[in-house]
Amino acid sequence: MPLSYTILVIAIPLLMFLFLGLAGVKMGKKLTGVLGVCAMGVTTVIAYAVALTYFFGTGDGQIVDGVRQQLVLNDWTWLKFSENLVVKLGVLLDPISAMMLIVITTVSFMVHLYSLGYMSDHHGKPEKGFQRYYAFLALFTFSMLGLVVSTNIFQMFIFFEMVGVSSYLLIGFYYTSPAAVHASKKAFIVTRLADLFFLIGIMVLSFYTSTFDFKALMANPTNALASAQGATFMGCSVMAWALTCIFIGGAGKSAMYPLHIWLPDAMEGPTPVSALIHAATMVVAGVYLIARMFPLYVLEQGAMDIICVVGAFTAFYAAAIACVQSDIKRALAFSTISQIAFMMTSLAVSTADGALIEIHEGYGLGYMASMFHLFTHAMFKALLFLCAGAIIHAVHSNENSDMHGLHKFMPITSIAFLIGCLAIAGIPPFAGFWSKDEILVACYAKGMGWGLWMSMVAGLTAFYMFRIYFLIFFWKKHEIHTEHAPADQPWTMTLPLIILAAISIVAGFVPAGELVTWDGAHLHTQLNWSVAGASVLIALVGIGLAFKLYYKENELPEKMKNALPNLWEAAYRRFYMDELYQFITHKVIFQNISKPIAWFDRHIIDGTMNLLGDVTNSASYAIRRLQSGSIQGYVFVYLVGALLIAAVTMICVMI
């Protein structure tokens, strides 16, 4: 299939969005759903074809000197800022974008399919916004695909905004629920704040390099950095600032600490949406952004260090919180944060010593590992979320206290969930093992401390995942609350689970090292058995611990909780980050900035204007006595006026 068909991958969802958005109201639910799924299926097929052609094809100068080239397929001028700065919209194919096409279309297709069942009713009532839902899904898919194929950083920014909005719309899908509305608002505003930094970063970067174009930037990153030679701001080079700002943009989307707070709340949206957006695709946009600009970052060590620290901390922080969450979607959300932080860290541990030529051991590896993990994580995390969706759909609750012991009722779901857990815990041969192992290798390459830290987090991951698993499916006998006993869901929902589970098992064998590398060249990797062994061991310990604590109902968890009540409470409340934000937004911004400004406006500024009017009026009132009605008074004023004019002029002129 010619690569130029890539444009279709983007166009079809867009057209679907417009079509469903405008005409959906008039159509039946079935028709809408089937249409959406079919369109997505076609898109998926084309995307696979394109990606495979890109990876394995050889025509049209795809590979030069053994290096797989970046291909710019379309480039349409969207807006010209100035002669140099031209925003174009186009399609860029390179290993990571091709990979992302696969990831996005796969997960999206699964979710489309899954939603046919999931979205048909809402807590037992027929879902009203079914058409709207599919339209938004299509919009999101379009935005995300547009994001990954961006040819320039500004297009990236545009689609960052677009995915933000789609995410907003989908989180707020149940718009009658205040929680959902609040969550969607929060998600949008937090990511918007991050995007502000992204924008500033782009402004600085583009000002010095005079281009937005990725290809131009990455072709010669040293030059790009050198263009801002000497320009510093607060002691650091402006490029470091620019790249840090851009990272903050990415961090917002990817929910890095401290901009992660929106993601758990975003779970208010429909679960398939969480699977698609908040687990597999949109949240990795930040990672993707850094990866896209990797050659620049690698040369700017300061920015890289910041990313590294943020990533490592976030990984642990989120994992710790995930250990105590009782809402299964929230727990999964924190797990997602933690995993994305893995990817971030993996990217950031890459270092280049000054020049690009001296490639460090972890340099290419971290990049590759990160992307690989992105891929595998998308699959198994989507799986986990969809499983969670199925469970929620069955028991109409998110709380694990309402579940317990579901294994008997929903065996397929249980097995799929177990596969997902094993994958994320990094048990061979499941997908997560392979990618996580590469990441740990890269971390150890940077330094022992980084490696140990990340290994520990990996262990924690295994623990909390299995904690969830056991709490849902075992722990104790299920108490049936609803009229129907929970059961495995219809095929539309089960089929995606099975497919994804299958992918999760085999995805680790994809030869990522040969396909997804930063420079397009092959990277030969081999399993580092010492690292792998250690990590598997840690994972097993975690699983064991979880088994001990949560497989059967017992007192132990409660005892642990009581042993460190404060810590538990703090972790359960996500270390009070939400309260902090709440404080800043409501108390500081609303109460101490907006309210005073509004007051100032009404009373001082407007008051001044009104005062002018009042002063005029009262002046008018004050001088009314002049018009006393008495002729003699008039004449007096007349004469004195004339005499004063004369006298004053005399004084002025004569002196």
Partner: protein
């Protein structure tokens, strides 16, 4: 013969419409509507033709500063002419105005009482607006400017709501205060328009050509003209007419006022204040730059805590229009292009907002967001429209606000001095604050549970309301999706002014 110039018809058509309306009987609302729609449609067609003409002329290599120039001497002793001419900026402004007038007619379809009188004033206002944009003579520009202002008083006073007397008076007086400053400025410019011994002129192009305004006079005249127009452009701290005025104005009037009239301010600032007095602009522009910078953030913050829909929008307008003036004062092509894009964007978007607010208000009889909620369930069409307007306002790519704001930011950032850069960064923060207040109002108004049981019986938009909003939404989307089309029309119109600024050492 001036009548062979298509531009003059932008004034003649509204005048004819006025005449037609005057002939309608007081009773028959149908005839009134028919005349109004006809007039507005003709205007839209003329505007579209004008754009086509402009593109074709430019493509054909006509690089003169103003196209379609023609002039008739009006007041020979003072050298006042009826001088017409357009450049890219005027063209898009005319297009914008035509669309908003069109949408405004439909938005006031059910105007009551006195529909005939309403449309009379409405079209008088549009006459002023179009006249302003096609003129290149200071006097006629000023005249049309005032023609556009005064109908506002009655439109708000008679057909408004709430504390309309106060608002109408305040609005009129403040804007007239602005025009008083402006008049002084224009007189000052006039008397220094030519070198010693040559006849004075009111023609903007000639004045710019002569470049004879002494520098020490520019120091007085620039602030006069800039503030004069700035008041209309809702520049801090002269914006306070805007919240009250908009809150009381009837829908179509708010639309026209925010959509078009406020643009007169930005347009005038650029066309008269900066173009004619580049020296003072570079010397003391920073004062106004600071003020507009404050406007942007200040308006946005103020909007955050308002509870009246129209107040929110009015403050949002302060912020957005501040952006326009801010960009104009950045003195480079990119930023100025952005300013005009922002004018277009804000014009359509705010008109859309006000149209929707009017329609919602017409149903719920309240504009207090605390008393409403969950309207999306009741009137999905209006709800979706409102969300689209909101998204345009907060700068969603694909809708108009984004392209405009980005052009402004990138243009502003082209400056290397710290002052401008810091201001630019400050201005960019508005995109977050905008998101905050837009989402706040959308969340409270449209989402959530229905607050008032009575609202459940309300109906969704009817055909003329839909037509009105669809027109505007299409405009918003057109600018958002194809900004370059508009930017290319606009961009080169700024060459003369940028060169003039460069010549004085900008």
């Amino acid at each position: 013969m001036i009548f062979s110039n298509i531009l003059i018809y932008f004034v003649i058509v509204p005048l004819l419409t006025l005449g037609g309306l005057a002939l309608c009987s007081n009773k028959g609302v149908k005839a009134v509507r028919a005349v109004a729609v006809t007039g507005a449609s003709v205007l839209v067609m003329l505007a579209i033709y004008l754009v086509a003409y402009f593109l074709q002329a430019r493509a054909a290599g006509d690089t003169s500063e103003m196209l379609l120039q023609s002039k008739v001497t009006w007041y020979a002793p003072l050298n006042i002419e009826l001088a017409l001419g357009i450049d890219g900026v005027s063209v898009v402004m005319i297009l914008l105005s035509a669309f908003i007038v069109f949408a405004g007619v439909f938005a006031s379809w059910k105007m009551d009482p006195l529909p005939k009188q309403f449309f009379l004033w409405f079209f008088l206002l549009s006459t002023g607006v179009f006249g302003f944009f096609i003129s290149i003579d200071l006097f006629t520009m000023f005249m049309f400017y005032e023609v556009a202002l005064i109908p506002m008083y009655l439109l708000i006073g008679v057909w408004g709501s709430g504390d309309k007397n106060y608002s109408a008076m305040k609005l009129t007086l403040m804007l007239m205060g602005g025009s008083a400053l402006l008049m002084l400025g224009i007189i000052g410019i006039y008397f220094h328009s030519s070198p010693e011994g040559q006849p004075l002129t009111m023609n903007i192009l000639e004045i710019a050509q002569n470049n004879a305004i002494p520098h020490e006079w520019q120091y007085y005249l620039f602030p006069l003209t800039f503030v004069g127009f700035g008041i209309l452009g809702a520049m801090f701290p002269f914006h306070t007419w805007s919240p009250d005025g908009h809150a009381s104005a009837p829908t179509a009037v708010s639309m026209l006022h925010a959509g078009v009239l406020m643009k007169l301010g930005g347009y005038g600032c650029f066309r008269i204040a900066i173009y004619l007095m580049p020296f003072a602009a570079t010397e003391i522009g920073w004062i106004f730059l600071t003020l507009t910078g404050i406007s942007i953030v200040y308006g946005a913050f103020s909007a955050c805590v308002q509870t009246d829909l129209k107040y929110i929008n009015a403050y949002s307008s302060v912020s957005h229009c501040g952006m326009v003036l801010f960009a104009i004062l950045m003195f480079n092509q990119t930023a100025m292009t952005g300013a005009v894009l922002q004018m277009l964007s804000h014009g359509l978007m705010t008109a859309l907002f006000f149209a929707l607010i009017g329609m919602i208000y017409g149903r719920t009889h309240t504009r207090d967001i605390r008393e409403m909620g969950g309207l999306m369930q009741i009137m999905p069409y209006l709800g979706v429209g409102y969300v689209i307007a909101g998204l345009a306002s907060l700068g969603l790519p694909g809708l108009s606000g984004f392209a405009a704001e980005m052009t402004i930011f990138f243009g502003s950032f082209e400056h290397t001095d710290t002052f401008r850069r810091v201001l630019t960064i400050v201005a960019t923060t508005s995109i977050v604050i905008t998101a905050v207040y837009i989402l706040r109002v959308v969340g409270k108004l449209l989402f959530g549970a229905v607050q008032n049981e009575h609202h459940k019986e309300l109906t969704d938009a009817v055909w003329f309301e839909r037509l009105s909003t669809v027109t505007l939404i299409l405009g918003v989307a057109a600018i958002g999706c194809f900004p370059n089309f508009f930017a290319e029309i606009i961009r080169y119109s700024f060459d003369p002014v940028v060169e003039a600024l460069k010549a004085v050492g900008m």
